[in-house]
Symmetry: C2
Subunit: 319 residues, 2 copies
Amino acid sequence: MGLADKVLQGDVRAAARLMRDIEDGTPVAVEALSNLYPHTGRAHVVGITGAPGVGKSTLVDTIISILRQRNMTVGVVAIDPSSPFTGGAILGDRVRMQKHGTDQGVFIRSLATRGCSGGLSKATISTVHVMDAMSKDIVLVETVGVGQAEIDITKVADTSVLVLTPGMGDAIQVMKAGILEAVDIFVINKADQDGAQGVKGELQAMLDMKNYLPGDWKPAIVLTEAINNQGAEELVEEILRHRQFLISSGGLEKRRRERARLELIEAIETTITNCVANEMVKDYVEKLVEDLVRRKTSPNSAALEIINRTIKQLTAHDG
Amino acid sequence: MGLADKVLQGDVRAAARLMRDIEDGTPVAVEALSNLYPHTGRAHVVGITGAPGVGKSTLVDTIISILRQRNMTVGVVAIDPSSPFTGGAILGDRVRMQKHGTDQGVFIRSLATRGCSGGLSKATISTVHVMDAMSKDIVLVETVGVGQAEIDITKVADTSVLVLTPGMGDAIQVMKAGILEAVDIFVINKADQDGAQGVKGELQAMLDMKNYLPGDWKPAIVLTEAINNQGAEELVEEILRHRQFLISSGGLEKRRRERARLELIEAIETTITNCVANEMVKDYVEKLVEDLVRRKTSPNSAALEIINRTIKQLTAHDG
């Protein structure tokens, strides 16, 4: 039985192994993901973003418990910006697993971020696909970040939640233009601290300046005290209300079409890059690099030659 | 006569038009660049990097004058990190053109940077190729940046110059690991200010910690006062000495092979991306996106189909 079939049958170890393979970028992972893809698209993906220290993890833990009480299964992808060498990602995993580790309805995976742009890695999207194929009802994607992260998360999330704290009034003032549009639900966590109502007022004022058309989703603002279990029920209600809104308005379909297009373009780039690195094409690439150094060809002509050779090889493999 | 031929015949207006086309990414630019490529590889490309305010522009102006006195022709690509909308790039151009604008042996072009990663844009490399094809002996690429820029510049420059000031002792302490390896010549500008010798000492100590093999280039440290015309002659001497070193050691060939490989991979990616955006493939892409949304195919299978279709089209065009 293949890895994908095992995952579809609920084999947790197989899922964990596939997720490791995804992070390592092995060919096995590519094949398994292709096989799992037809079984995805059912989970509702919720992005939870915020600066370090706003209390995202505690909030996520509380959300897990509430969703479980409602008999929904939950996947969590926690993106840890620490280096893979510090062990931060693994430590985070362990702490959480103590709480939900024995619950078969919860699957938690931490990923260390890579790459320069701070954007979501391909591994994140693939890991979400695996949890989706495992029939998790809700997949929570937790990312640390300020600024770009709130916008990037929309590449994978159906519902985007931004977590703020009362001390962040200034941050709202200088909020990047695209963020108000990207966030579906604002959370002001640690709402027992001074200034929570002030931050809410400022946020509300900014949202009120926008012209919403009838039928538009108007972002909700929820006050929470994750550590005291306050407000999290309301947050879950808003998440589920937004899910319902997306389904009935056709917005879900639109978001997913946009994401399918992005994934397709990434898959094309990956296919080509892998082929260029492939042993069978390597000598040919080196020959063309020599020709370039000698100015016997141009990068564009050489690119066409390689694409040509690559496709012949790919088609031969397929047939 | 084609745009490329005009550039090769020294038509300055044609060169300026091509550079605009390059920034706009027009198909005309792609074709002209392919035609120019066989005529490139003769210019010596010098990257000049440094934080804002270290005096790079004044230094570059002085270098231009010294090279011109030695009867060498000069191209300058100034990369301005300001938004294309602030007009920063254009303003910088104008100020410089007042000094060298009537000199036929100097060609200056400012580019506004785009993209998130702070890396060198493809437009930078292409603009350098045009100046190279215009038979400029030396092409200076001036970039603002701290940290990554010094490393990125090696993707286009034969000789990398990093400009520091006496106030930057701390910056040297926390210098990124790859920078010492990437820089060929260190300049301490504003050397009349306190602390210049201190910075030089620190830098020398860091360089001395490295194990140089016989035949390795040991980075030079030059003290300049660009505004008083001090030290710039020595800097030009070091640049020309490094050029000679690269030629005789075979290092130039090695650097250029590495760059040819990078350009080839970029050209492959661009070719594919353009094809996906192409009108003739567009409907097909949309159909596959629909199939993805309906989970009838996977991103990888769809990618193969598009690459297949694309290559057929590219080959049809060629034949």
